[in-house]
Assembly symmetry: C2
Amino acid sequence: MFKATIFVTLKDSVLDPQGVAVKGSLHSLGFVQVQDVRIGKRLEVLLDSESREQAEEQVQAMCEKLLANPVIENFAYEVEEVA
Amino acid sequence: MFKATIFVTLKDSVLDPQGVAVKGSLHSLGFVQVQDVRIGKRLEVLLDSESREQAEEQVQAMCEKLLANPVIENFAYEVEEVA
């Protein structure tokens, strides 16, 4: 069994309205030191793959097909074997 | 200037309907090896703090006050100095 931890983040050139909103809320709570907020996704996927290589190939394909929008998002992942 | 990378994840005991939906989509795309999907948030916050200690204190307070719901979510963070 393998566990993939996948990070999906907006590309730097893409405006992050959610991040802008959170920044405003933090400022109104008094956290005026905050200069910028960027929000992305962290996914944990448990895979019953034959090998680490197969797990990595599957995760790459999942990201390309569903989990990340290639136009506006980047993705990165780590795969580890779990009991 | 400091950059905090914050991970907000659902507690293990909490059902993740979004994760269940993504798991179903992955299965329908043929990724039948997927056993479980858990989805959380990854935030990057840029802080103009005096010191690393002050940045860490501010991040802890932000998570407790706004970024994480203590009833259903856990949070963890890393703080690094940036130019």
